[in-house]
């Protein structure tokens, strides 16, 4: 397994932080449009 993927390209923000920002953004948008609440029903148990 090459190690090049865990190097930060161009000396920018760390990869894990980049992931968290993008991932957080995706989830925030999904939350704001209410996707989890619209798509996931509440079946009677």
């Amino acid at each position: 397994m090459g190690d090049d993927y865990h190097e930060d390209e161009g000396g920018g923000i760390p990869g894990w932080l980049y992931f968290i920002l993008i991932y957080g953004g995706i989830n925030l948008v999904l939350y704001l449009v209410g996707a989890p609440f619209l798509l996931i029903p509440i079946p009677r148990r």
């Binding site: 397994m1 090459g2 190690d3 090049d4 993927y5 865990h6 390209e9 760390p14 990869g15 894990w16 932080l17 980049y18 992931f19 968290i20 993008i22 991932y23 995706i26 989830n27 999904l30 996707a35 989890p36 609440f37 798509l39 996931i40 029903p41 509440i42 079946p43 009677r44 148990r45």
Partner: protein, 298 residues
């Protein structure tokens, strides 16, 4: 994702997979070390970042350390929100569990990943049921929709009638839930399913806790309060979410699992639990209601 790993994805772990026996994956279908040609590179910085984060979490939960972490994910948010009377614990537990699952997927420890999910939900449920049974004045804040859910369930138990328990009513909802899992589990890497899962499980926990209180701790309420079909549904989505997040993780990171049948069996088991949920619910609802009714009116 169940990534081929053992290497130093975040630059902090030992490069020797055998230097610490705790780091050895406990499943057979994944290698304990990665080779240079074992997979494609991650998909951009996002995939590389996911790989780094998974490696960090896997390092923290190596060996037996996954166990207290799973308990913490299930219990600590609820304990922290208890004095505040806030329902934020459901999202926080969902987030913590999601991150722990990434770590288990990274290290290829499927048994640990699944046990983490089950333990987090079980410990959370134990505490939530206890709170609902022993501190009913707390539940309105912690579980805002719980009391209304209990009222509907109580009406069903006492009357034996509820349109929502008719096949034509609940079957489409079950398939919608299945479809939602296939969309949201990959899209949110598990977060939406786990966070929403804690919310839905808490509806049930408030119902069971209140049932225990109202029935004076009757055994019937304890044994079937968590309906058998509901448990099947929970197990279905534990397995399915784990596999779906794993597949997306593989795609993101470029890692690939060793060939094996374990994953196929897990997917088959998930659909088996889905079928069991439908079959048991359609055939045993009245029997379960009778036990609950006897507990409630004794």
């Amino acid at each position: 994702m169940e990534i081929e790993t053992g290497g130093d994805a975040c630059g902090e772990e030992s490069s020797s997979p055998n230097s610490d026996p705790d780091d050895t994956p406990d499943v057979e279908e994944f290698p304990s070390s990665a080779s240079a040609d074992s997979g494609a590179p991650p998909r951009g910085r996002f995939g590389a970042g996911f790989l780094q984060l998974g490696a960090r979490v896997a390092h923290v939960q190596r060996g037996w350390r996954w166990l207290p972490l799973a308990l913490a994910a299930g219990l600590l948010p609820l304990l922290a929100c208890w004095p505040l009377g806030s329902p934020a614990h459901q999202g926080l537990s969902g987030l913590a569990l999601t991150v722990l699952v990434w770590g288990a997927l990274h290290s290829g420890r499927a048994a640990v990943g699944l046990a983490t999910i089950l333990l987090a939900f079980a410990s959370h449920s134990g505490l939530a049921i206890s709170l609902a049974a022993l501190a009913p004045d707390q539940i309105a804040g912690l579980f805002p929709d719980g009391p209304a859910y209990w009222a509907k369930q109580e009406a069903w138990i006492r009357s034996g009638h509820d349109p929502e328990y008719e096949l034509a009513s609940w079957l489409p909802v079950h398939f919608q839930l299945l479809g939602a899992c296939f969309v949201l589990a990959p899209l949110t890497l598990g977060l939406a399913i786990f966070a929403r899962g804690f919310y839905e499980v808490d509806l049930m926990n408030v119902y069971v806790g209140t049932l225990l209180r109202e029935s004076g701790g009757a055994w019937g309420a304890l044994l079937v309060g968590w309906h058998p079909w509901s448990i099947c549904r929970g197990l279905c989505y534990v397995l399915l979410t784990y596999e779906l997040v794993g597949r997306v993780g593989e795609w993101l990171t470029g890692r690939s699992p060793r060939p094996g049948r374990a994953r196929t069996w897990r997917v088959a088991l998930a659909f088996g639990f889905f079928a069991a949920d439908c079959v048991i619910k359609s055939s045993c609802t009245e029997a379960v209601r009778s036990v609950l009714y006897a507990s409630l009116v004794r």
